[in-house]
Symmetry: C2
């Protein structure tokens, strides 16, 4: 079994809220004193991980006498700092002990063996965050610096949520970002600047990270930018974070460019976020390291509902090329349903593109919380609903099948989530979810009858 805890992480475990960039001498001394005990504890059995975490948390908190605690109720962690612990189910953990201790970089296509068997949102989030942490720690191989290129401030909500997940993971890995650019800011001039910065680092200390998403092959402009970036940093290890592949009809020419770009890239690892995309990558990108790895937005962790719902069903209906053009059925009069895409659910701008990403992701969470349950034809309508614990229905999108491939690979075990293919089925299933979870779903608080 790999022991991945570093001194920094021990300190960090002690203070989820400690300012991440701050160093703390006393904490490091304490951590050094504790580390052998911690190693023993974590070796005894996998399910000691949670008590270990709690114990260190307590000791760490005591260590900092000059700083006052807020009351416990005020300490629920914001997203990105919310890391579910392993399941309390000892049988499950011992059953899967071998799998849990694998080095997945040596078993890159076996990462999804446990996830689809997990039945609660917390377990799925734990497993996916565990994979992210374990694999990235392994790939970083001791590097403490990265560049994060091509992230997104799109109002599609999904890409910014992925950005937040990536940033949260990097913070958790205690890695320094020495350069970043959002997709529209990765100009040639900025990339030149990035290249200049990279000269301060040896390949053994800097890694190039490319933003995940659903734009591999399917959105040529993204591949064209990645081509520039990959050719700019040939000597550095690069990771293209979790992506879906969409091969559109009549895009043979672009597919050929992608074949050339992504094949036989010795220093590149590509994460594919579902088995269908992995299959396509294996077919078209030979000679490059591929890994089956879940979507990065899970880095947000569990998010509590903050706002009471205002309708029974929020229905995300996308209107772009990825939609399967299903029909929305007539609604029963006893249901309040809000059908819209979240593109137009606009967000206030942050001071930097990265802050904007955080605000857009948060705004996506607010969009969904209006519904007691959710229907979605967007993948991140699914993923953010899993994070929020909102029961929901996914409508698949043939011929891309982005949603069903993802669900089959990672979230198939969640019983509060249903996959369908038509609008009619979606409505029926959403009504069943409303019934099944009636007693535990928050009620609609706004008054509707007097509609003034």
């Amino acid at each position: 079994m790999n022991i991945l805890i570093t001194v920094d992480e021990l300190c960090f475990t002690g203070h989820v809220y400690r300012k991440l960039t701050a160093s703390n001498g006393r904490c490091q001394v304490l951590a050094a004193a504790l580390i052998s005990a911690a190693l023993c504890l974590s070796l005894t059995s996998i399910n000691t991980l949670r008590p270990l975490h709690l114990t260190l948390g307590y000791l760490g908190a005591d260590d900092d006498q000059q700083s006052l605690p807020l009351t416990p109720e005020t300490q629920s962690a914001p997203f990105g700092l919310n890391w579910p612990g392993p399941p309390h189910n000892a049988t499950l953990l011992s059953q899967w002990a071998d799998f849990l201790s694998l080095d997945y970089t040596q078993h890159p296509f076996d990462t999804d063996r446990l996830a689809p068997h997990l039945t609660t949102n917390e377990e799925v989030i734990w497993e996916i965050q565990r994979l992210h942490m374990q694999v990235m720690t392994s790939l970083l191989g001791g590097r403490r610096h990265v560049m994060l290129l091509d992230f997104s401030t799109s109002e599609n909500k999904g890409d910014p949520a992925i950005t937040v997940g990536e940033v949260a993971l990097l913070r958790r890995l205690n890695v320094t970002v020495v350069f970043y650019c959002s997709i529209f800011m990765c100009s040639d001039a900025k990339l030149k600047e990035a290249h200049k910065i990279s000269r301060n680092f040896a390949p053994s200390s800097l890694m190039i990270l490319l933003h995940g998403g659903g734009n591999l092959v399917g959105y040529p402009e993204s591949d064209i930018l990645r081509k520039k970036i990959l050719n700019l940093f040939p000597d550095f290890q690069s990771v293209l974070l979790s992506q879906s592949i969409w091969i559109r009809k009549d895009h043979e020419k672009h597919l050929n460019m992608c074949r050339e770009l992504y094949s036989h890239r010795e220093n590149l690892t590509i994460f594919l976020r579902d088995r269908q995309s992995l299959g396509l990558a294996q077919e078209h990108f030979p000679g490059t390291k591929l890994m089956l790895m879940p979507d990065m937005a899970f880095g947000l962790g569990r998010v509590p509902r903050t706002m009471p719902p205002t309708v029974d069903i929020v229905w995300i209906k996308r209107a772009d090329d990825e939609s399967s053009r299903y029909k929305v059925p007539e609604m029963p009069t006893n249901l309040s349903v809000q059908v819209e895409d979240w593109w137009k659910w606009t967000t206030n701008k942050g001071r930097t593109p990265m802050e904007s990403s955080f605000l857009i992701a948060f705004n996506g969470l607010s969009f969904l919380q209006r519904g007691r349950v959710v229907i979605t034809d967007r993948l991140h309508g699914h993923i953010l609903s899993v994070l929020l614990g909102i029961p929901h229905v996914l409508i698949d999108n043939p011929p891309y099948f982005k949603l069903s491939s993802f669900r089959r690979t990672w979230t198939a075990g969640l019983s509060n989530t249903v996959l369908v293919t038509t609008g009619k089925e979606a409505l029926e299933q959403a009504q069943q979810l409303l019934q099944r979870y009636e007693s535990s779903l928050p009620s609609i608080m706004t008054y509707w009858k007097a509609n003034y």
Copy 2:
């Protein structure tokens, strides 16, 4: 001691999330069976209230076998459904037992005896919600129907937060809203409609509620609308919910109109939300029932931070007539500070004005969460920060003194909240708060150095 628990409330206690309008026969039977035991328990001592609540919650949940629970982690209550229980401090509760069992409608100026002695956010919220529930139950006197008039969808965030608090309180009181209108929708035609609806009700079954806020006397258009409303429903008991009074220089003529409008109104009760406003009301509005009652936005309850902060300090600086025109000092280079009013932090529209109010209040919460700590010259920057548990500095606004009067009356005991009068002091105090709560404040997650 008054026992205010009804059968409906017992059922509701069992399911914070039960759809509030739904009836449940089995629950009512169970509640009837439990009610005598509950009465005994709640009489034994005040601090049995919390265990009682928990016990009923558990029994209630078991009662509903056909409806599946979500996992516990997904059940944190959204705002408006988040009601802190009484403090665990038995000494405090027994010390204040006499005060806690008062009928405040008989002691309308004594409501603030406990609140300023409470030291945690949870305690203050509990006490204020308790006053709202107790007094409104008493004033409703068995009425189950209300009209809620003149509420707000203003981007000032405070008024919508008050609206949400009012709606949450009405839901908790299990009262039906038979008519509502937001300020811009309370046209003569709509009010005529409201008047028509009121004919279906006897004065003993319908109450008229006027939205709270900070616009009594200070904002003539609000008084003019209230004049219309009060003259339209002379036979019904009305409550003007918690307000501040601001008497502007050279507004003698409008003050005279207000004197005439609000004095000797037999069927009106006015809630004043601070002692200064109460004093002004006593001076200018003789012959009308006045009560010292805290701001309605506390109906939101405790709200967890959802988003990690992106700056050290968010500073709300208003630019309207209520500002004291203080100067913002130069910022130290090692601090990230965002200075702006939240007026321009715009919100997506809901399908109705009431839904818009909820969304704007939520958006106000998101504005504040960007800061590790907050500086505010707006009263609801203070109140929402108390609800979020964010340490903060209030800058007073002479000659109105809306903030200091409110703080002195209700929140003076909170040590994570500081009152100052200048921008320079505000910055110093905010820096001290950052230091004092360093270990328990969430860290900034966004990377700033690479600003692209």
